[in-house]
């Protein structure tokens, strides 16, 4: 490879080709192709049962794929048992050996590979995760966060080409989870190993990963950088699972040129043609989407003074929730239902209270278009469940 080597050793890349897993008549993972570049922090994001953990376990070798191949650093490892793969896993609930102390837990991988002098590397690794003084304790004497760090140390000390993390922060409380997210990100940058991280927490995936693959029903729905996924969701599932989206059913009026002209209820909306992932013909249907924080509220009395060229929707405030940095409104748009609007609390307009008539407006550039044939609510409840 021509890519310049980072100061430390670099990880390997992971290449999955046509990999799938079926249990009897149930398909956990549909045939999928996935490439994780060397040295990247890659997240598999999805609700429980979407196939993300199964995919991870197939990379580790703990699960045999029904079809397809797994390649690490260009070498086909599909037929290799887990103990012959240069891959280590941080398990959900850590799976630390209860009969060994912390030092021996961390030394386990080195000893199995016949390395005699384990004292120094183990001490260095425990220092890296700030657990030096705990070396002689048993796992059950440590707190959840400490156990998690032991699990990371036990995997990292083997200098694997790829580190797999299976919901490693799921058992921690929110504050500790935030702290460990930063910690893991720091370690990954420091050691340069490829990380594949499985999580159901969309915020966790977005803060930590360079690339996120959103999985649903055993398939990868969309893959990309976190910001790209958020701004340009390709399906209603991604739009709803990553944050919140307002999805409006609309009819295509004209579809020539740079911009599509849509009709939603009585309102006309404009949508950049390149941001519409669905085929658009005049008379066809699309879902016009916009993120709640991209929308601005203006009182109906000020409607005349709004700048031109923006998408406008008349509405009435149904509910307003003040949460400090922002106020979250639920508004009712006649004929279109309820939409969400998040307003930064910079200059609060005292007239914007429940019952007030308002105009929603946003830049057409912030609108995205999705195929109207999909379930408009896909992924919406899952997100709440996961949060």
């Amino acid at each position: 490879m021509t890519r310049t080597a980072p100061p430390h050793r670099s990880g390997g890349d992971v290449r999955l080709e046509g990999i799938s897993k079926t249990y009897g008549s149930f398909t956990a993972v549909h045939p999928l192709d996935l490439t994780v570049p060397a040295g990247s922090f890659f997240a598999l994001l999805g609700a429980s049962g979407c196939g993300k953990t199964t995919t991870l376990r197939m990379i580790a070798g703990l699960e045999d794929p029904t079809t397809g191949t797994v390649a690490l650093s260009g070498q086909d490892v599909t037929a290799l048992p887990p103990y012959k793969r240069q891959v280590n896993t941080v398990f959900q609930n850590y799976a630390l050996f209860p009969h060994l102390d912390i030092h021996e837990n961390v030394a386990f991988g080195l000893r199995r590979r016949g390395i005699k002098s384990v004292k120094k590397p183990v001490e260095e690794m425990l220092d890296l995760v700030q657990l030096g003084p705990m070396a002689r304790r048993r796992p059950q004497q440590l707190s959840g966060g400490q156990q998690q760090r032991v699990a990371v140390a036990r995997a990292l000390i083997n200098k694997p080409e790829v580190l797999l993390l299976d919901e490693p922060l799921g058992a921690l409380d929110l504050k500790l989870r935030r702290q460990m997210q930063l910690e893991l990100k720091r370690i990954q940058t420091e050691v340069g190993i490829t990380f594949v991280h499985v999580t159901h927490d969309q915020e966790e995936a977005m803060t930590m990963a360079d690339t996120v693959a959103v999985m649903n029903g055993g398939r990868v729905e969309q893959l990309g950088a976190p910001a790209d996924l958020y701004e340009n969701p390709a399906s209603t599932f991604v739009a709803n699972f990553l944050g919140t989206s307002n999805l409006i059913e609309a009819e295509v009026v004209t579809a020539d040129g740079e911009e599509l002209l849509l009709k939603a209820g009585d309102a006309a909306l404009r949508l950049p043609a390149r941001r519409c992932s669905a085929p658009a013909r005049p008379g066809g249907k699309v879902l016009a989407g916009v993120r709640p924080e991209k929308v601005t509220l203006a009182h109906a009395d000020d409607a005349g003074s709004l700048p031109g060229g923006r998408n406008l929707l008349p509405a009435r405030i149904k509910d307003a929730g003040f949460i400090g940095v922002s106020t979250q409104y639920v508004v009712t748009v006649p004929g279109l239902g309820e939409l969400a609007v998040y307003e930064q609390n910079i200059e609060r307009d005292g007239r914007l209270i429940p019952g007030a008539d308002v105009v929603l407006h946003w830049s057409p550039a912030h609108t995205f278009g999705l195929d109207a044939a999909q379930d408009i609510g896909a992924g919406a409840d899952l997100d709440e469940e996961a949060a």
């Binding site: 580790a60 070798g61 703990l62 048992p81 887990p82 103990y83 012959k84 891959v87 280590n88 896993t89 398990f91 959900q92 609930n93 799976a95 630390l96 050996f97 209860p98 009969h99 386990f108 991988g109 199995r112 590979r113 002689r136 036990r154 995997a155 083997n158």
Partner: protein
């Protein structure tokens, strides 16, 4: 003030001092009483091992003597039967522990035909009256024309010890997180290494308790042994036989020695455990 009330209750409500002492130490007293109930018979055995009885029965205290302790094998056939019992107990423990551990792993880990019936049948030796089992075993051996002796006793002992080992080990294996073995494999341990380094050490307490139970059960079994021994005499059978003609003091010596060895083992185990916890 309310605060002061709780720290110093009014004298009128204070119970009698003796009652208060009793209330505070009731658990300790109950514990000591239970311990006394358990240990007293052993103490009697120990005390009478220093007796010098007049006549053949060691039932009333005469005078202190170390004769029996100086010559524990002084009674004909006693030490022979003791050696036989120990040998049978060791082999039965070994056989039952190995077989039982394997059965426990099979039952806990694998789904196979007749698994649930095996699960139930394994409890049968525990539930069935010993006499019934002894008699049926004897019938079986007799019909098959097998000579009664060491081997029939050993087979019988392994049989009834099995269920105890299976029960103890299975509980341990069932509660083991399967991810521990996966973690070991993930950390470059081959299946054999995984079993030796992770599975076995974690199952060890279950296996050890099963083995200890087997040893104790096999060593002092009388009923089943008596039916299947033929002319072979184990230690419990020797005690039973001699009790009809007279009880040599040496029996008390052997009994006390076994009791003291067991106590020593337990104390040593506790001390080792406490030291490990402290470090």
């Amino acid at each position: 003030m309310a605060v002061r009330d709780t720290t110093a209750p009014p004298a009128a409500r204070a119970p009698h001092r003796g009652l208060r002492w009793l209330r505070r130490h009731l658990v300790t007293l109950a514990g000591l009483a239970t311990l006394g109930y358990l240990i007293l018979p052993n103490v009697v055995v120990l005390v009478f091992s220093f007796n010098k009885p007049n006549g053949r029965f060691n039932y009333s205290w005469q005078r202190f003597s170390l004769d029996a302790w100086r010559d524990p094998c002084g009674v004909a056939d006693l030490c022979g039967s003791l050696g036989l019992s120990l040998r049978i107990a060791v082999w039965a423990t070994l056989g039952a522990t190995v077989l039982g551990t394997m059965i426990a792993f099979a039952l806990a880990r694998y789904r196979f035909r007749a698994r649930s019936s095996v699960n139930t049948l394994i409890f049968l030796p525990m539930a069935m009256p010993e006499v019934v089992m002894a008699a049926s075993l004897a019938t079986l051996f007799l019909n098959m024309g097998i000579q009664f002796g060491f081997w029939t006793i050993l087979i019988a002992h392994i049989m009834f010890c099995l269920s105890f080992v299976v029960t103890a080990v299975k509980a341990r294996v069932m509660s083991m997180d399967p991810r521990l073995e996966q973690a070991a494999q993930d950390l470059y341990a081959s299946p054999v290494q995984t079993f030796l380094r992770v599975t076995l050490p974690i199952a060890a307490p279950g296996i050890a308790s099963g083995a200890l139970l087997s040893f104790a059960l096999s060593f002092d079994d009388f009923i089943i042994t008596n039916f299947n021994a033929g002319s072979t005499v184990t230690f419990p059978m020797f005690v039973w036989g001699s009790a009809q003609r007279g009880t040599p003091v040496q029996i008390n010596v052997i009994g006390s020695a076994m009791f003291l060895i067991a106590v020593l083992c337990v104390v040593a185990g506790q001390l080792a455990g406490a030291r490990r916890k402290r470090s």
